[in-house]
């Protein structure tokens, strides 16, 4: 933003030559990102052929089909599970981010690294770890039985609870990082001033810290909500037959039911939702100016 490099160095033969550098990358993205996504949009208006092919047409059948209770239920459930995941990540991540933001600079780096390391391990593997813990003969049940807390193993795996646990586990770092960035910038003298004026801890949190950290909170929530909403692996492995989410529905329509137009329509709906959320965030997170006023 501030440091857009001077045009000087590129002026000689740059602009023409640079197209040789830019061209292939832009072409690649256009051909493999923009075109395929546009195809999805186009196909969503087509109809399914008798043998699963595509019959080109311009109809809203697929979108109307999505109003069917079965699909509406899955869509609603996905939003619900993603929202619960986001809330839990916020509740768990906020104290952690706050703690890191207040830590000594030397420790900050280390703590952030600790938060990120699990994120860099394979998602499939991390999900599998929870299967190992939660299943009926799994670690948790074995432990609880040994301790005499429960008399018979409880069904933990293949449920919405398991899906939420898996999602929170997978995306918690996405919440902590933007929260940390925002909380670190909160002027500590403001907190001290409020403390001196006998504000309670709750008032300080609600009236000072949260409003100032708002852009980070919004960013974190979005970064958790979007991948949770479109999750495939977590509900696929940890969820039961009844915890299907949009991602699974899309996969099912494309690879199992072979109703591509319907799958495309669901994808477009998901995409629309994600884009809408992002736009909303960009608007809602804007009042950063308030932060400047305050400090």
């Amino acid at each position: 933003m501030k440091s857009s490099p001077p045009a000087g160095r590129a002026e000689s033969s740059g602009p023409v030559a640079s197209w040789w550098l830019l061209g292939p990358g832009l072409l690649w993205m256009g051909l493999l990102f923009v075109v395929p996504l546009s195809l999805v949009l186009v196909i969503s208006f087509a109809e399914r052929g008798t043998y699963g092919g595509i019959v080109w047409s311009l109809s809203l059948t697929n979108y109307l089909d999505l109003l069917h209770p079965l699909y509406a239920h899955i869509l609603g459930q996905s939003i619900l599970l993603a929202a619960v995941t986001t809330m839990l990540c916020l509740i768990m991540g906020f104290p952690l981010a706050y703690y890191i933001a207040r830590a000594a600079p030397g420790r900050q780096g280390m703590l952030l690294l600790l938060v990120m390391i699990p994120f860099w391990t394979n998602f499939l593997v991390r999900t599998y770890a929870w299967m190992f813990i939660l299943r009926t003969e799994g670690l948790l049940n074995t432990l609880l039985l040994k301790l005499g807390v429960i008399a018979a193993p409880i069904e933990l795996l293949y449920s919405n609870t398991a899906v939420v646990i898996g999602l929170v586990y997978g995306y918690l770092p996405f919440m902590v990082l933007p929260l940390f960035v925002a909380l670190e910038q909160v002027d500590r003298t403001l907190v001290e001033a409020a403390w001196d004026l006998y504000a309670t801890r709750w008032v300080i949190l609600r009236r000072i810290i949260v409003p100032l950290a708002r852009p980070g909170i919004m960013a974190g929530c979005l970064l958790v909500f979007i991948p949770s909403l479109g999750a495939f692996l977590t509900p696929d492995l940890l969820g039961g037959a009844r915890s299907m989410m949009v991602g699974n529905l899309i996969q099912h329509e494309f690879l199992v039911a072979r109703d591509w137009p319907l799958g495309a329509a669901i994808s477009c709906l998901l995409m629309l939702f994600v884009m809408g959320m992002m736009r909303w965030l960009l608007h809602a997170a804007k009042p950063v100016s308030r932060q400047e006023d305050a400090s």
Binding site: M29, L39, V40, M92, G93, V125, M131, I133
Partner: protein, 255 residues
């Protein structure tokens, strides 16, 4: 806020326990002698040894390494070019493209997988390891571009200006000044892309043809067909390799 300190520390610790517990459990039980239960029955290496003689697994590993290598090289060529070439555009255009390149990283991965599948099938391109490589190069390109551009913005523009003043052409400056200065970022981005490719499941799942089984696809089918300590052992290897590569990537970029 002093009193809150202890409470914050305990909650943070609980968070870290939540993040590391499952991984620790996985590692520990990959050495458990019992095949079926989650009760501890002594140490063994046998699950690791079983991996070593599993031909399907070794084949999948070779596939994964191929895909990661080719897609990383592709993403590096395209991504570095994009990062460097972007500088010649007006500032507003630069930001537009930079923001647009975030989109592939933000949209649900299932979307990317499905759209590529549709694209390949409609163009009648048979699904194979090739299509997987193309897909991986697609999501790795923005990663490379972002890392390289972050470094590029930190470079002193005067270095390039001096080269131009001394009569170096655009390409000469690029080859002898810009690229060497960017080397740590390029290396780091490459390692990062390689790791992401090795780990990817979803895009691979949608773009892989029959026979084009990568390691994550293999792990997935193993998990689907039932839990076994071999999967634990394989998972541990995954954890070690990804962490090692990412650690290396961060180390390289620090220079």
């Amino acid at each position: 806020m002093k009193q809150a300190g202890g409470w914050l520390w305990r909650v943070s610790l609980a968070n870290l326990f939540f993040l590391y517990g499952p991984i620790a459990v996985l590692i520990l039980f990959s050495f458990n002698a019992s095949r079926l239960s989650a009760t501890w029955q002594g140490w063994t290496w046998q699950w690791y040894r079983a991996l070593w003689v599993n031909q399907a697994l070794l084949d999948a590993t070779v596939n994964s390494l191929w895909v990661a290598t080719v897609s990383t090289v592709l993403a590096l060529f395209l991504g570095v070019g994009l990062a460097v070439g972007l500088d010649s555009l007006p500032g507003r255009r630069q930001r537009q493209i930079e923001q647009a390149m975030l989109l592939p990283l933000v949209i649900p991965e299932v979307m990317m997988g499905v759209s590529l599948l549709l694209f390949f099938v409609l163009l009648q391109i048979p699904l194979s390891l090739m299509t997987v490589m193309v897909g991986h190069a697609l999501f790795n390109l923005p990663v490379v571009m972002i890392i390289v551009r972050a470094r590029l913005k930190k470079l002193d523009p005067r270095l390039m200006e001096v080269a131009a003043d001394l009569g170096a052409s655009y390409w000469d400056t690029l080859r002898h000044v810009t690229i060497p200065l960017l080397r740590p970022a390029i290396l780091g981005a490459g390692l990062m892309a390689f790791t992401i490719s090795l780990d990817d499941f979803i895009v691979t799942y949608f773009t892989a043809g029959p026979g084009a089984t990568t390691l994550p696809l293999k792990v997935y089918s193993m998990i689907k067909s039932g839990m076994s300590p071999e999967i634990n052992a394989l998972s541990v290897l995954f954890v070690i390799v990804s962490m090692g590569l990412i650690g290396l990537s961060l180390l390289v970029q620090r220079r």
